[in-house]
Structures are given as structure tokens and as C-alpha cells.
Amino acid sequence: MKRITIITTLIPILFLLFVNSVNAENIYTSDSYFTAGSVILIKLEGETAVKPTGVVYELLDANGHVVYKWKHRPDIVRRGGILDWYIYDEFEIKLPNMMGFFIFEDRPEGQWEIKTYFEYAKGIIEGSESRFHFNVYKGNVIDNLFAPIYIYKGYRVFGIEVAHMQFELFPFGWILTFIFAIFLFILSIKYIRFALKQGKIIISRSSARIKKEWRTKG
């Protein structure tokens, strides 16, 4: 693994971020910050000696705990370059809900990290690791309500993670919106039925009264 480049477009100050994984000191951070639901766009480029089959993106919180792991099939893998294989991948990571809303623990604010590495048929390609640091704050309630919820549980033996379980839950905001929409629908149906029934009663009473009047006149 000789060269890996992460090109990330950061907002609001737009610049290209080049991270050289070989030299860990060459990691640049930004003054801008992200909150729950922020999107991080990653463009990963590199060369490897063996044919890569996948790219792993690991999101780590400020305490270094894994938040979620994504395994992605690279967009481009072709022969070429100084080493045998050229690899290019684009990936989008959405930051999770930071507020637990009394159900989960709040996520820590601070410097979060995205760790990436390439995989091949027999495991991880040594030396292909890259790290990207960025600042994360909780953000407001709306951001948190509509941010995805990541659940991750790693199983370790002698400090080494041997397996993990993870899943993504619907944001709370969508669930609340769905419940609210159902409530509104039921309420409107109830009132439409009420209005129709009352209208029917009024019409039948009026027609009965008119008929009665006609009979009296007749």
C-alpha cells in the first residue's frame, strides 16, 4: 500500500482534504463542525498490491467507540498504477442521532473519526488504513429527531473484536410524524362522519316538516 488519498469536500470552507495514510501526522482537520444528521462525503483513492474486494468505513465517536461500520464495494477497481491495483470509491456517511431522548445514551461531542481500510479475499490489506477527524456537536432537537439511529455491539475476545451486531433504526422524527399523520387522519374521518350524519338528520327532519305542512294545507 503506497498511496491513499481521501478527498473530502467540506463545508462551509470548501477545500480538498488529502490524507496520506502512510504518514499519520499528515491528517488535516477542519474548523467547521458537524451535528446529528450531517452528511460527510468521502472520495477514497489508492493503490494496492493485491486485488481489493471492499472498502470498510468505520465511524468512531469522541471516546473511540465504534458507532457503525459500512462495507462498500469500490466504485472502480482496475489494474494500473505503481502498485498492481488502482481503487476508487465514493461514500456518504450520515451522522447519527446524538440525543438519546431517554431511550439511548447521549453520544459524546468532540472529535469524531472515520477510519477506512481496504479488504481483499483473505482479510484486511495491511497498511491501507486511513483516518479522518472532524468535530461533532449535538445540534438542535430537530436535527436529532431526523437523524438515523445506529445500534452497534462488538463482541471481543482478549480485547480483539471477533464479531459484531449492528442495525439502523428509523429516526424518531419519522415515527412521530407517522403517528401524528394517523391521528390527524382518524380525527378528520371522525369529523367528516359526524358532519355527514348531522346533515342527514337535518335533511330528513326538514323533509318531514315540509311533508307535514303540505298535508295540513291539502
Partner: protein, 180 residues
Amino acid sequence: MYDGSSLQKGYWLSDAKPVKCVWEYYDPHMHKFYRVEKDVAVVYEGDFNGHRYAFADYNEFIIPALFMPDRYGDWAVRSYFIFEGGGHGGEGPVVDEQGNSYMLSFPVIKGSTFNLIFNAPIYLFGHKTIPLFWWLTPVWALIIFFIIAVIYTRSVVGAVKLIKNIAEATRKAKTEWRRR
């Protein structure tokens, strides 16, 4: 190629046919605020420096009504094309001489209260909707109804009594409906 003005000049070249163009708008904290996938505005077929297609696109985005101060700042827009067969490319809207693509950032400030209430649309779940003033139509309708009631009864007390009577009649009708 980006020429420094607000409009981008030039065309993208490709051998694959572009079928859609995607525009994504991000707030200052990189929340994907709005995404639109549309047909490509201009596609020419022929021989353009050895490429079969020359294409370009443009899009319009109305700055939303923003009620949270942390949403003011530098927003950004990203665009890319989707080609026949599902691949994507032609990322922009800004590209430098080396072919590196950049998002285009634009500053967003609060503006006047009038614009915030009457002109700026409210975006809900990724869809553009009406400005705040029109969202409050039920409130305005009730106020107008009250004003009409005041004019009709020639006093505020009369209007209040009228509304009370309407509420009472509705309550009675509801009770009767429940009984039946």
C-alpha cells in the same frame, strides 16, 4: 469550467448518455436539505473532441424560510449526472483545471421579516411548500370570521356571544349524535 461568476459556462463531455442530473443542497452543517433529480437540460449528440455527448444543466433553488439561527451561513450545492446504465459522474458544479470537483458555496443571511413570512417557502420532508403566511391560513380565516361577526353584531361582545352560541350548538349536536 467555472468562470468565477454565478453561472457556469461550458459543457461536460462523455461517451455515455446522461439521463438525469441530481442537485443536492446542504446547510452550513452539511445537512442534506434538498435534493432534486431532473432531466438534463441540454444534451447534444455528435462528435465533441472524440466524445459522443456534450451536456449541461441548470437548476433553481429558492432559499427557504429559516427560523433557526444556526442555519445561516455558507450553504453549498453539489451536482452530478446519472448516465444510462446507472453510473454517475460529471460532478460539480465547480471544476478546476486538474479536474477536481468542488461544491459551490453561497452565503445565506436572515433577510427581512417580510420575506421570511411572505416570500420564503417552507421545505417539509424534502419538498418545497408555501410560505409561512399561507400555512397560517386557518388562523387568518378565524380572525376574518371574527371581524365579520363584529361588523354583523356591531359589537365585540356580540361577536363573542355568536361564537359561544355556535360552540354550544355544536356541542348539543355532538351529544345528540352520540346518543343515537
